[in-house]
């Protein structure tokens, strides 16, 4: 296996209902990542995406013949194209791979309730077992999982308010964030429930987004523009079908297995992690990952957050870009990009001397994580 580096990162013009197509977001984010790295379009020889079509993107951007390509289906967010891109370079199938997550804004509850648009989950396998019980949104499984998590951990709504306030504080310094105004715990608690105990500020912020990350060999990365960031290892896990609602244990799900797999591939230990960027499609997922990765005690994440463990001066500064609740739904890619920025020394909430970063995506049926080091 060849040692792999992340040489470039880039976003499209991310925003609410941008009016731009998937292709626009793919092109903008790829061009930003190429410019960030100093790699030319002709040097790309592999592509992977979730959102749009990898072959279409490669042709559109004039990358030339590709040695390797993948269009990902339903997967644990950006970790899927990222992990596959890493493996393609590591095994020599390609030398320089662009990995994307392109995601268009999904319909609001108001639009769905008016009948003017389809449901988010229509067409998914087993959907009629959701629909017949009034379940039309992923916020339902999030409400179920969060409620059980609160029951087992003793977490309170105030703990989730604290989590939201800490993330917004990070976001307030990040020009990429869509939500940057200061937030108080009282403001969080005054927001409506979507699926009690889940409130609107426990959910990632819907938007159109394009994110691109370029993987290449360590050797090549050493001649490029940016400080070198290396992939130490990565992992995947799946434990269940896509029906989150029938998970028999909603507190210890696939992040547990993905974390075990991750640590089994490396001599780096949880105590070596300088910063963690952990999926917050729903807020409790970050807490699940803190526990699964061994960054705090099992069932101890609410207390860890309460005691400031995730803040910039805490034990493990976490989601230092503000998380997807504030930077918008970039579906896990922001956690990869923020990890890279931390290890380069380019974060807007920089962790001093950061040398090891872990980022992780998804929860429930499937999940994955990647460990990065300063080169």
């Amino acid at each position: 296996m060849r040692k792999v580096a992340i040489a470039g990162v880039g976003y499209s013009g991310v925003g609410r209902n941008t009016g731009l197509s998937e292709r626009h977001h793919a092109a903008q984010s790829a061009l930003a990542a190429l410019a960030d790295s100093g790699i030319s379009a002709k040097d790309v020889d592999g592509v992977a995406t979730w959102g749009g079509d990898a072959t279409d993107f490669a042709h559109m951007l004039g990358f030339g013949p590709q040695k390797w390509f993948l269009t990902v289906g339903v997967a644990p967010a950006f970790i899927s194209p990222a992990m596959h891109a890493w493996m393609a370079v590591a095994t020599g199938q390609a030398d320089t791979v662009v990995a994307w997550r392109i995601m268009m804004q999904q319909p609001s509850s108001a639009a769905m309730a008016s009948g003017s648009t389809g449901s988010m989950m229509a067409g998914m396998s087993d959907y009629h077992y959701n629909m017949a019980f009034g379940n039309f949104s992923p916020t339902v499984w999030a409400g179920l999982m969060m409620n059980r998590y609160m029951h087992e951990t003793g977490a309170t709504e105030e703990d989730f308010a604290k989590f939201a306030v800490i993330q917004r504080d990070y976001a307030s310094r990040n020009p990429d964030a869509l939500l940057r105004d200061p937030l108080t715990a009282e403001e969080y608690l005054a927001k409506p429930y979507i699926n009690k105990p889940l409130r609107i500020l426990d959910c990632d912020y819907p938007c159109d987004s394009g994110s691109a990350v370029i993987f290449t060999t360590e050797e090549r990365a050493r001649d490029l523009k940016q400080p070198v960031v290396l992939v130490e290892t990565a992992s995947h896990a799946t434990i269940h079908n896509m029906n989150f609602e029938t998970l028999p244990d909603m507190v210890r799900t696939s992040p547990v297995q993905a974390a075990e797999n991750l640590w089994s591939h490396t001599s780096i230990k949880p105590s070596d992690v300088d910063t963690a960027q952990l999926y917050d499609g729903f807020s409790f997922i970050t807490m699940n990952w803190l526990e699964a990765l061994g960054l705090c005690e099992p069932l101890g994440a609410p207390e860890f957050v309460r005691n400031g463990g995730t803040t910039l001066n805490g034990k493990v500064p976490t989601n230092t870009d503000g998380g997807a609740i504030n930077v918008g739904r970039r579906h896990g890619a922001n956690f990869c990009i923020e990890s890279v920025r931390q290890l380069r020394g380019q974060s807007t909430s920089q962790v001093k001397d950061a040398e090891v970063a872990v980022w992780a995506n998804a929860v429930g049926p499937f999940a994955g994580a990647m460990l990065l080091t300063k080169g």
């Binding site: 309730a113 087993d126 009629h128 009690k196 029938t246 028999p248």
Partner: protein, 135 residues
């Protein structure tokens, strides 16, 4: 809103119209398989058929549907969606609604029993309520 009833799930939905909770069960080892699949995850047999359950369960988790995501539910919010564990088999989970109970009276792991209520005009779906009518 109404489920699409076909050969892969008719035992469940047709059972509900007869006030029966019916899940797919392996004819070889007796393992219940839900959601329905053509193979038993316990013994890999492909001979499975519908079997009636007792309708007894415990409350694993629940959430309040505070917002409507479908026109039918605009005048029905808030309502309760739950995951229950059926007593016949560890980890045999079913997504359902809770009825005849206030949110404030719910307790994790409390005992529940099945009932059947109409979705729309007359199509019955299996829902759960506190066992023995307890509040």
């Amino acid at each position: 809103m109404l489920p699409h009833v076909d050969a892969s799930n008719d035992f469940f939905w047709n059972g509900a119209q007869e006030h029966k909770l019916v899940l797919l069960c392996c004819e070889s080892c007796g393992h219940f398989v839900h959601l329905p699949r053509p193979v038993c995850s316990n013994c890999q047999s492909m001979k499975l058929s519908g079997k009636q359950l007792s309708g007894k369960a415990t409350l694993y988790s629940y959430t309040v549907a505070n917002k409507a995501f479908h026109p039918y539910y605009v005048d029905k919010i808030p309502y309760l969606i739950a995951t229950v564990e059926l007593v016949e088999q560890p980890d045999l989970m079913l997504q359902t609604n809770l009825v005849d109970v206030d949110e404030k009276d719910l307790k994790f792991d409390m005992e529940l029993e099945v009932d059947f209520r109409p979705l729309g005009d007359s199509f019955l779906v299996p829902v759960f309520k506190p066992a023995g009518g307890a509040k």
